[in-house]
């Protein structure tokens, strides 16, 4: 009915105002079409992804897929939103201290400005920061200093930036907060905590790091040379001068340490990651503004909130409403049936787990190389949850360990898969954009040629890990 559109537009948003699907169309089809259109348009990258996702979410409500606005809001995972926003606030304040530039310069000088040594050190810094903060922010702050250093060394920046892209995604895989797919998994799967990522996914990350570094050495590392004069210029850098605000640095590091501790001990106490991150963000804002005048406080807080990546936040909000609409309409049941169908003929739940883990790992990896891994994972989580229910109804009950093996496969596949192409993860695009502005563009096909095989290699290592640890 056209009335549904009018009712929704005119404020039929409360629980009591049920809206029928527009023209009496099947919500399954409406939601499916909105989903495909939205994801398709996002993939073209012609329009801002947050705007497209919000329009898709709005269409889900206006076309009557949801009975009312409240039902749509139930689909938004506020834990993910809170965690992302809180961490973005903390990083926005911390980055003002110059600590990221300090770390990059300090590490370059530690290896006497030798190019290969710098590449290794910057890779380590990128991986560790990506695990502890988020990989997008990490590359946003490390890539500019990297270009500065390579410029002073008079060597091509590509191998360095290439390594940083790869290791930001590899490092981010290690923790719940490191990469958006992990935030989604950690937030939406109740039995998975910050610590589970540390004990289940993180252990394989150092091996993947080393095994990815070796081909980079063979391809470029052994040939990297710089003149003594150029290396002397980098050695002449004064790392300490990069720190612009020591008191704020101390406050930031203290809050960051508390937040990381909070992630580790919070879950048993009933505190979700969003609570920890938001409290940490608010506390750091308080500490950052203690000695300022009221006007300065207001301006500074306003500025900090302005640095939150709202495009990402609203992208998530839109995606959640779209995926939940798909779920409500029963479309994910069909997708889940396909997943379950893949396990047909399996002898027992162990074989089901093996088949699903390997399939999820590889499909996620290849899909994440082609499309943004955030919408992919946002759709996969409810699909897999539905598949687990369908499997148990068919007598193939997966226990928690078996379910977790599949979730870890999704995490490793989606995070590592992001390395497959320049559009595979947000961090890749940020480095590419910056490199282009600085006059050293990264070509799509060149990156694909180097990165895709390395991505497959890392996923192969992950496959062996998942198999040996969970499937035998």
């Amino acid at each position: 009915m056209i009335l549904s559109l009018a009712t929704t537009l005119l404020g039929g948003g409360g629980e009591g105002h049920g809206v029928e699907p527009l023209f009496g169309w099947d919500p399954l089809w409406i939601s499916g079409v909105i989903f495909v259109l939205t994801y398709g348009i996002i993939m073209t990258e012609k329009y801002n992804r947050a705007v497209v996702a919000l329009l898709g979410a709005g269409a889900m409500i206006l076309f009557g897929v949801y009975p009312n606005q409240t039902a749509a809001i139930h689909g938004i995972d506020w834990n993910t939103i809170g965690l992302l926003t809180g961490m973005m606030v903390i990083v926005a304040v911390t980055q003002r201290t110059g600590v990221f530039q300090f770390l990059a310069i300090w590490s370059a000088k530690k290896v006497n400005a030798r190019p290969w040594g710098i590449l290794v050190m910057l890779s380590i810094v990128t991986a560790v920061l990506s695990a502890l903060l988020d990989n997008v922010t990490t590359v946003l702050l490390i890539a500019p200093v990297t270009l500065l250093i390579t410029e002073e060394l008079e060597i091509a920046p590509y191998p360095f930036l290439f390594a940083e892209i790869l290791f930001s995604n590899i490092g981010g895989t290690a923790t719940l907060i490191g990469d958006p797919p992990n935030i989604l998994i950690g937030s939406q799967v109740d039995t998975i905590t910050f610590n589970s990522f540390l004990t289940e996914v993180a252990p394989i990350v150092p091996l993947i790091f080393i095994m990815t570094l070796l081909p980079i050495y063979v391809m470029w590392g052994r040939k990297l040379t710089a003149s003594d004069e150029a290396m002397a210029r980098v050695m002449n850098f004064k790392a300490k001068e990069a720190i612009t605000n020591v008191p704020l640095l101390k406050k930031s590091l203290a809050v960051l340490a508390m937040v990381l501790l909070g992630f580790m001990v919070g879950h048993p106490l009933g505190f979700e990651p969003a609570t920890v991150a938001m409290v940490g963000g608010a506390l750091l804002l308080l500490l950052d503004n203690l000695s300022r005048t009221p006007e300065e406080k207001s301006e500074n807080v306003h500025h900090t909130f302005g640095e939150v990546e709202w495009v990402t936040i609203f992208f998530f909000v839109g995606l959640f409403v779209i995926v939940h609409g798909l779920e409500n309409a029963g479309a994910l049941d069909i997708l889940a049936e396909k997943v379950v169908g893949f396990t047909e003929g399996a002898a027992d739940s162990a074989e089901v787990t093996t088949r699903l883990s390997i399939a999820v790992l590889w499909v996620s990896a290849v899909a994440s190389a082609i499309v943004d891994n955030i919408p992919f994972v946002a759709t996969m989580i409810p699909t897999l949850k539905t598949a687990f229910v369908q499997l148990s109804e068919q007598g193939s009950v997966l226990d928690l360990d078996q379910q977790h093996a599949i979730w870890w496969s999704l995490s490793l596949g989606a995070c590592l898969g992001g390395n497959g192409s320049l559009i595979g993860a947000s961090a890749n695009l940020i480095v590419a954009g910056f490199a282009e502005r600085a006059g050293s563009p990264i070509r799509f096909l060149t990156f694909l040629k180097h990165a895709f095989p390395l991505m497959l290699f890392s996923v192969a290592i992950a496959t062996v890990y998942i198999y040996l640890r969970y499937l035998v």
Partner: protein, 152 residues
């Protein structure tokens, strides 16, 4: 009153293919803030000014990103700045020509010219709309001078 009545016709220009060193000399010798850059047909390419020149003596990475506003750790001396500039000396200036404000046309109203001058804080080119060719420049003094009674 329109732009064509106050502009300076036949302004000093540099060709896009001329080296940075030549354009720098034009800026220095004339004490210009910027100089218009044109192609071989006289079409406007952009302007090369003090801001672009200063950017050339910094590392490219610093200019490309506002996250590198603090460069104290570079520990540079004059020789370092000179080295960066010398590296760019032979590059064609067209590579660094940029749009520093809106393009004016001969029939742009004088009040609108003042608005654009205020916003861009730079001399502005006057371009023939049909051919895209540079036909003049308008500076602050073109307007202020006329108001104060200076003869054109």
């Amino acid at each position: 009153m329109t732009c064509s009545e106050i502009m300076t016709s036949n302004p000093v220009t540099v060709r896009a293919t001329e080296p940075v060193a030549a354009a720098t000399a034009v800026l220095r010798d004339n004490h210009f803030r910027s100089v218009p850059v044109v192609d071989e047909d006289g079409k406007m390419v952009g302007q090369f000014g003090i801001q672009a020149l200063l950017a050339l003596i910094l590392p490219k990475a610093a200019v490309a990103d506002d996250h590198l506003s603090n460069l104290r750790y570079l520990n540079d001396d004059l020789a370092d700045l000179q080295r960066r500039l010398v590296e760019e000396h032979d590059q064609p200036v067209g590579k660094y020509a940029e749009e520093v404000g809106p393009v004016l046309h001969p029939d742009t109203a004088i009040s609108q010219v003042v608005v654009h001058l205020t916003e861009s804080r730079n001399n502005l080119p006057v371009v023939d709309e049909a051919s895209g060719k540079l036909i003049g420049m308008v500076s602050y003094w073109d307007i202020i001078g006329r108001i104060l009674g200076d003869k054109k």
